[in-house]
């Protein structure tokens, strides 16, 4: 079943099969998209055109529902975009958390996994803001079943001394609970850290 057939089936749930075909052909006509060009990554472009073309035939009471189904189709394939947040101070922690929230929203995920992502982002960006002053945080959504989010925190600071003790839970923080790094590791499905005189790079992944 190709994309053309999938769309046809979806539309047939709302209009007669004949009209479904005509809606789809109309949506594909300006500018012209051939059936074999109707690949997943072009869906985002075609879906609004289908919505408009269907207006002519659909029961107005059901057009919202069609709209939703069409959007779900695109949402699923929306090209994931990574977000890079420069950390220069405390205010950027909130920006980083908001970026994480936006990314989780594109996957329509909420609950515990979003909390995990947001909390890890918060811990890693705060550490950069408090102990180095500047650095960056990259949030990378990865589509798939299940989708994942990768968080990469990087700075060119002095490195974390005693990282082994921190990860072993033997560290007593003077400034906080001392659970930023270890807590992030416990929340993550994958955790890598490289730290030394040249700076720190922490890469974690959360399965949504």
């Amino acid at each position: 079943m190709d994309q053309y057939d999938r769309l046809l089936t979806l539309l047939s749930g709302y209009v007669s099969p004949l009209n479904a075909r005509s809606v789809l052909n109309r949506a594909l006509s300006h500018p012209r998209i051939e059936r074999h060009q109707l690949v997943e990554r072009r869906l985002a472009e075609i879906v609004p055109r289908i919505g408009r073309a269907a207006q002519l035939f659909i029961d107005p009471a059901r057009s919202d529902s069609l709209e939703k189904e069409l959007r779900a189709l695109v949402g699923d394939r929306a090209p994931p975009t990574r977000i890079l947040v420069e950390i220069n101070g405390e205010a950027d922690i909130v920006r980083a958390r908001a970026a994480g929230r936006r990314i989780c929203e594109t996957f329509e995920i909420n609950g515990f996994s979003v909390q995990k992502v947001a909390t890890i982002i918060s811990e890693l960006s705060r550490n950069i803001a408090s102990y180095v002053g500047r650095g960056q945080l990259e949030i990378v959504p990865i589509s798939g079943r299940p989708p994942r989010v990768q968080i990469v925190a990087e700075d060119a600071g002095p490195g974390i001394s005693g990282i082994d003790r921190i990860l072993a839970g033997q560290y007593k923080s003077k400034t906080g609970l001392g659970l930023g790094i270890l807590g992030s590791k416990r929340l993550a499905d994958r955790f890598d850290i490289q730290t030394g005189a040249g700076g720190t790079r922490i890469e974690v992944e959360v399965i949504l």
Binding site: R101, T119, L177
Partner: protein, 139 residues
Amino acid sequence: MEERYERIPIIQLWDQLLVPLQGDVTDAHADRLCDEVLERLRRTEARGLAVDITGLWVVDSHLCATLSRLAASAQLMGTKTVLCGMSPSIALTLQTMGVELTGVKMALDLEEALEWLGFRVAGPDHRRELDGEWAPGED
């Protein structure tokens, strides 16, 4: 980004204070919250403090440390503190991280928190009329 000044609502209920936290709390916001609440406790000589975190989006280790500090300071001033409204996913997150809110009394929701502080619902129990599903003995 310019600094947004958000006022922290501190609501006085007779001799108790209620602080509902909302949205995404910055570190500066949390520190100011601590100072302002303690100052209000001193002025009003409140006996109890309920912090409702139902509206919070993220609670990380820093915010937990701030809330513990607030509760400990209030305790020293003779005010008991109760934290309520922690969502299941925030609770799971903190639990997984190993964060403990030591010395902080937790309540499920604001009603339970206020009851713990000594508030009592007077008169007939209206919840029973409002909620048809309410089964006797569930209370």
